[in-house]
């Protein structure tokens, strides 16, 4: 088991289904991490404020509405604007393969689709916590390469 991290699990945008977000939150909890769940329909600025106030090192974004290409980069940008360069961003939900490269370019470090074993998400968190891969880092690494 890795070092305990504080992780925000957030639902940006308008979709109203959070079973997946709750399953990921639960898996991270069972992996020994402290998970702060934001609830549904948060705006990017609300999510960034939560990450700041909670002093979280990771944020997991869940989107099923198709708005990920707008919302995820926006959150990355707001995190950098707020000086939260060391926060590691990952995402999940329904994210088509063709949409992923621009998200990695925006600063997202991992995207987990349906069927991902929860152990893989824990491995990602443990690995990412040992390298300088926050949203403001020049490192172009992402999970799965």
């Amino acid at each position: 088991m890795g070092v305990r991290q504080r992780i925000v699990i957030a639902k940006p945008g308008l979709d109203g289904h959070d079973r997946g977000a709750k399953v990921v939150a639960r898996a991270l909890r069972d992996g020994g991490h402290e998970v702060i769940y934001t609830g549904l329909r948060r705006t990017p600025s609300q999510i960034v404020r939560t990450i700041m106030d909670e002093d979280a090192r990771f944020v997991g974004l869940s989107s099923l509405s198709g708005a990920h290409s707008h919302l995820f980069p926006k959150i990355c940008e707001l995190l950098r604007d707020a000086g939260l360069d060391d926060v590691v961003v990952f995402g999940g939900g329904i994210i088509p393969e063709s949409d992923r490269a621009p998200l990695y370019d925006a600063g997202v470090r991992a995207i987990f689709g349906p069927g991902t074993p929860s152990s893989e998400i824990l491995e990602f968190v443990n690995h990412a916590s040992t390298r300088d891969c926050g949203v403001g880092s020049k490192d172009d690494w992402h999970w799965g390469v």
Binding site: M1, R6, D30, G32, E34, D53, D55
Partner: protein, 273 residues
Amino acid sequence: MDRRQLARQLSAIENGELQAVDCDGLVIAITGPPGVGKSCLVDGILHRLTPENKVAVLAVDPTSPISGGALLGDRIRLTVLDDKTKAESIYVRSIATRSSSGSIPSIVKGLANHLLANNYDMVLIETVGAGQSEMRCAAIANRIVVVEGPGRGDGIQAEKAGLLELADLIVVNKSDMEGAEKVVNDLTVSLTITDDAPPVIRTSAISGEGLDELSNMIMNLEDRTTSRRARARQQLLMAHENILIQNPAFESILDRMSEEGLVLEEALRQLNE
């Protein structure tokens, strides 16, 4: 200090890397059984007391005794954070109980003091859902609000000793639901034979009934002399527990108790060495 710096200092205090600044001020515990409406009442209070007052909320949820992880979900209820005119005067931090026993970890005292020292007018501590004998909050908060609700047992519950005796204010929430009036009556009747009895009010976090009254009262709760000794007792117990938890051998002794059959007497002896 900006919010980010404050947030990082709070983490450092929580991790034992920074000493909290000492500061006196209003620290109010909102406690009561799980699901009785503590988070929703905190939301109602924040809607009414901000932005005129700067209020910090420390929301405590339990750490898993198995994995050491925690799911901290109290923020979900705080609709007040959607209001930009109020959000600036509110600071919310979710806290896991980690290795402490009871409904509030001792470190919360330091976190609350640090927030008061950084210009917050008051700190609301939302405890883990707490039962009848869960009195640890008395060691940390200087005012205690106990939240009760309907459908949680008959009138004899109101007569039992414990947490209710330490309350500075008793709130019967979910007054829109059947049975709330009876709970208010049971509590009121029970308290008529108590010296220095706390007030009992009824609220509904859904309809908003009683929330103005609750918000006004919470600012002006009196320090009840009857609970001073109980507070001191809880402080002493908590300090003693901290010494135990911070013992470097604590975790390894736990391992040996659970895996190698180390007996309790021997474990205690080794901890005291």
